[in-house]
Symmetry: C2
Subunit: 206 residues, 2 copies
């Protein structure tokens, strides 16, 4: 371990090794990303902010793309944990549980609006396998909830998987809507609840 001199910041001796450069870079990258977008993100600037040399980040991320991929993957993991936690405490009928799910999902999208575009990277751009896997895992959760409800007869059967896709699309679309601010002044909770209830009830006149 190095001798650190915290007395005078001007002459403070920084240890040769940062300690947790990787996570520091990721955290700061998410900040910058939220403020200035992908174009405004510079590896060198991240290095400067972390008080480290130009090429240090390369030890952790071979590439700018690699950093973005890591950020996206981390995003899926965080999302997954929050969804699991939320579902554990969710009670009530299918609608209520779906609302909890959707709300958690949309809240995450709002808090990490910088991450979503990375997570939704179109498949045309070559994707990390790990990223694809994380994607699948995240979307497996709502589907599980739906299938369990179907097994209990709480919702109509679905032979073709089209209903599943509808829920997925609705969730995805909600995040985009909220991220782009298209919900106007409609409170987030009202929006989500309304969408799920609408999906449950259908559009046909009663």
């Amino acid at each position: 371990m190095n001798t650190l001199d915290y007395g005078d910041p001007m002459t403070a001796v920084r240890p040769y090794h940062h300690g947790n450069l990787r996570s520091t870079l990721l955290r700061e990258a998410e900040n910058v990303l939220g403020e200035r977008g992908v174009e405004g993100l510079s590896l060198r600037e991240l290095a400067r902010t972390a008080g480290v040399s130009n090429s240090a980040p390369r030890r952790h991320f071979a590439d700018k793309t690699a950093l973005l991929d890591a950020l996206a993957e981390e995003g899926y993991e965080r999302l997954g944990r929050r969804l699991d936690a939320a579902l554990k405490t969710a009670e009530g009928d299918v609608t209520a549980r779906l609302v909890v799910f959707a709300r958690t999902y949309v809240e995450f999208a709002v808090e990490h609006r910088a991450l979503l575009p990375l997570m939704h990277r179109p498949k045309s751009e070559a994707r990390d396998d790990a990223l694809s896997a994380a994607n699948d895992r995240a979307f497996a959760a709502p589907l599980r909830l739906l299938h369990e409800a179907r097994d209990r007869g709480d919702i109509a059967p679905d032979t073709s998987g089209r209903v599943d896709m509808t829920l997925l699309a609705l969730l995805q679309g909600l995040t985009v809507l909220v991220a782009t601010g298209m919900n106007g002044d409609l409170p987030l909770d009202t929006l989500v609840t309304g969408c799920i209830e609408t999906l449950m009830a259908g559009l046909r006149p009663c």
Copy 2:
């Protein structure tokens, strides 16, 4: 007009003025964008491809962002025209008309998958006013269809506008799903039809 020598490409005299640099740049930009994403897009490379100097593009787009905004706006206009055209020929009940609408929308998203992320730019990044307006216009169309159907009593009334948001979210989500390839091997037409029908019927067991 300049004298052009098309005989020998090596010594061909190019006119001082390109003629339609702006649209050439936009077209080529969309190509590159589809292949290599925003990061892989370079103004200079566009200039080279167009056979024009480094700084020529600046006459038409003050900024790289300006080019992207123009691309997004153009995208909304094209989308609007296609939606209008599709709706004119659409016949049948609400479901059928909604399906036509959704299919047109998703088809556009697939054909121009490079454009969608630009069009869905989060509001946190300062947006061109023209872009916001184009956005509103594009989303006004499906809402109009929905409201007309409601006036005729084809779908249930909606006091809070939550149903409207549900349709919007579903449309948005569909494009994201398709763009990221999450539909798997499900044919596009089946997917869209299934989603709209599911939305009409609702999830509740019959």
